[in-house]
Amino acid sequence: MSQRDEPAGSIYDLGYRRYDGPRLGRRHAMLSLYLFSLRGAFGLGRRTSSKIIPIAIAIIAATPAVIQLGVGAIVSSEHLHVIRPENYFNFIQIAVALFCAAVAPEVMGRDQRTRTLPLYFSRALLRSDYVLGKLAALWTALLFLTFVPQALLFLGNGMASSNSTGYWRDNWMDFPRIVASGALVAALFASLSLLVAAQTARRAYATVSVIALFVISSVISEVISGTAGGVWGQAAVLLTPFEVVRATILWVFQSNAESGSALAQADLPGYVFFAMLCAATAIAAWLVVRRYERIAV
């Protein structure tokens, strides 16, 4: 206020003006929170150090597509093995998990850490709106890993082909499948990692816990399928997000698991994995909402 007290300061003091424009309510609030959180997920509008990790991981996830397109530009198409979209997730699963571990605590724990939650919850927004806005933000951020590289690959392979329109005509069904599988994968990883990140305000704990969720679930699943026989051994594969996602992608593309893989051994119909993915996503999202309904601010 020292500035205000200076005579020159009064030049800038236009007095207080009332606002009688529109107040757009909850939906606008959710949309704003979504965009703000999405920008935050990639560190946009923040210092450079907040951008490095999310953007680097997103680039890693796009690397297989870039390499294949590069090779395709050099090698003639008869000798080229294109990456099938249903296999792309195998290249990026670690990147997706790391991205969740790095970004989910930023999206979800941050307002708990800085105690900003009371400012949100004392505004024109419900607690469930807040959670859904955050969930949508992480989901969209994950699409940059699970959808964008494959869409580039689809377009790039077509353009590199000697007969572009022919390529797209023959493979057009791939595109809605790329959209659907990318959206489903992002949804499961977003809600599971937010559920973990929502449990603690401490960033480091959240990051480690998200990684632990993916590692431990895989270990448990492998141990059960290795030791238990019959239906329990088969069903154990449903406990690890990676396999559920892989199987759902194969189901979306109407493709089969490689023989000898865990999925081939489990030999469950594809819709079971799809149902498991949807159920896990919905339950995790509901649990986050419940947690935030009850959190004391």
Binding site: M1, S2, Q3, R4, Y12, D13, L14, Y16, R17, R18, Y19, G21, P22, R23, L24, G25, R26, H28, A29, S32, L33, F36, G45, R46, R47, S50, R110, D111, T114, R115, T116, P118, L119, Y120, F121, S122, R123, A124, L125, L126, A296, V297
Partner: protein, 309 residues
């Protein structure tokens, strides 16, 4: 329409009663909410904001039921919490504009009002820097700005001078008073410092142990009786005697004479002359600030104390 109305509002935690059947009705204005730490001030504010659900009872703010019409009500409410609540890694401009949008303002309007509001609270070039580098005083201003940016009809301020140095305190109180008086925004300000409330508010609500102790215009607290303390070197007896003889109500402490002054009386010159006549050294002549303990005694008893002296 009253600004705030509560009926038998209670909040109980296991083993602790934070609010105990609080019933109160307040007209718009600049309202001070005073009480010792733990008296229930923050609890009341949080219930009004929908951050806490009351155990029982009802409350309406601006005519909206705080439990059933929360989102509608909160479009018109600004809240400044007692604690730190700002992210470190964004600028004040970006954060306050974001908060304005969360309150429903379109993007362009949010940006425009953010610039105006930050200027109003006295943040200039630094508003484009990360909040991490701000002083406590600057952070308090950002907190006030985010409560004001959407042009609320009522602002709830919880200890707005928390952590500020004396100069920052003055600035903040000045801002709060201007916001309330010049902009016509109703303010409910919680504080445990009566002096602050006195300077800013026109109505005072005193709560203690979750119960309403008193709610009245500020004048009724300060005008009824003012107590003047005259501290001298040596024995206060003769001075007290002379002043009592001249018709003032006095009470004697060791080196101090307390004088109860009715509205309209101006005995200052007489006191000075009496001290000079007696050849006493005058150490201090001051208006006794009423503090919380004084308030918790009834004014009648205080008058009686002085009169009995």
């Amino acid at each position: 329409m009253p600004l705030l109305s509560t009926r038998e509002l209670s909040k109980r935690y296991p083993g602790v009663t934070a609010l105990d059947g609080l019933s109160i009705e307040l007209e718009p204005g600049v309202i001070g909410l005073v009480g010792a730490n733990g008296a229930g001030k923050s609890t009341l504010l949080k219930i009004l904001l929908g951050l806490l659900a009351p155990t029982s009872g009802e409350a309406t703010l601006l005519g909206y039921d705080v439990r059933r019409q929360g989102p509608e009500l909160r479009q018109f409410v600004g809240y400044m919490p007692e604690h730190d609540c700002l992210p470190n890694d964004v600028s004040a401009t970006e954060f306050v504009a974001h908060m304005a949008q969360i309150n429903g303002l379109p993007r362009a309007a949010a940006r425009e009002r953010t610039a105006e509001t930050l200027r109003h609270v006295g943040l200039f070039e630094e508003r484009y820097r990360e909040i991490r580098g701000y002083s406590t005083g600057m952070k308090q201003r950002v907190k006030l700005a985010q409560a004001l940016v959407h042009d609320p009809r009522v602002m709830l301020l919880d200890e707005p001078t928390n952590g500020l140095d004396p100069a920052g305190r003055e600035d903040m109180l000045d801002l709060v008073r201007r916001t309330g008086n010049e902009f016509g925004i109703a303010i409910i300000m919680a504080s445990h410092l009566l002096g602050e409330i006195e300077r800013v508010c026109d109505h005072l609500v005193v709560i203690d142990a979750g119960r309403l102790l008193r709610s009245a215009a500020i004048g009724e607290f300060t005008q009824r009786t003012q107590v003047l303390a005259v501290e001298i070197e040596g024995d206060a007896g003769p001075l007290a005697g002379r002043l009592a003889a001249s018709g003032l109500r006095v009470k004697m402490e060791e080196h101090t004479v307390l004088i109860g002054i009715e509205a309209g009386q101006t005995p200052y010159d007489a006191i000075r002359d009496t001290v000079a006549d007696l050849g006493l050294g005058l150490v201090r002549l001051e208006q006794r600030r009423q503090n919380l303990e004084d308030l918790f005694r009834t004014p009648e008893r205080e008058d009686a104390d002085v009169a009995a002296g």
